[in-house]
């Protein structure tokens, strides 16, 4: 018979005291909350066929060409503003006309 079993037999009283102490301690414990669900959060990802992506891209480019160019209209507005501002400056006499002529010849 192995030594451990022999020792366990001799220690029956001690071991049952240890077990009952542990059981009593376990009874006093309050379990922490456990928040679990069966459903897993899933990524909202759909497979899009490649032809749809290509078609969308072509449509986007076509619309870009067909639509009136916002950039040009914006540039016109800026030019008009600059012109008006230059006129105002000339009227107020705070612009050196020779510099203005030189600058316009450069551009």
């Amino acid at each position: 018979m192995d030594k451990l079993k022999e020792l366990e037999k001799e220690s029956q009283e001690l071991l049952s005291a240890i077990k009952s102490k542990a059981d009593a301690e376990n009874l006093e414990l309050s379990l922490p909350p456990l928040d679990i669900t069966d459903s897993e959060p899933k990524l909202l990802r759909r497979r899009i066929p490649s032809w749809v992506a290509v078609a969308a891209m072509i449509t986007g480019i076509a619309i870009g060409f067909i639509m009136p160019r916002q950039g040009k209209a914006g540039n016109d507005r800026i030019t008009a503003f600059n012109y008006a501002d230059t006129c105002r400056s000339i009227a107020q006499d705070d612009v050196n006309l020779s510099l203005l002529v030189n600058a316009s010849s450069i551009f």
Partner: protein
Amino acid sequence: MRLTADTFRSLYLEHGPRAQGFFLRMTGYDRELARDLTQDLFMRLWSARESYDANRSFRTWMFAIAYNMLKNEYRRQMTIMEYVENVTKEEPLTETDHIEKQQRDQMLRSAIGNLPEPQKVVFLLRYEEELSITEIARVCGIPEGTVKSRLFSALTAVREYCRINEN
């Protein structure tokens, strides 16, 4: 077999207190830490439910992960000195308690608490959680012969401690 949330909840109610009690004694009666570790343990078990083999014991699986968590916990924060100090920290006795029983329990706590960590784990798993030698070997990842020799040394030490302190 796939573990559903309902099955897992009932496993939690059945085995949770044992796991928490195990953590409690292994951490030198740090109640907060034992609670946190228990919660963490079951969240890990739930996350790893795909790897659970229904043909094997849930307890063995649970204690194997619990033991790994404890090893990490020791590495992370506990020195041997803190560990021994925690073990001797006891709650005050109340007037209505049975003082004699409390003293005996305290002595047992200290006797087990003074064991070196490798002996203490196998001792608790065997005599408190009633795992078999084979299961303990699986949980700790050591040969059965080592489990037996550690148990023998641990039991001898606990008996000796109690013999000295009872007189």
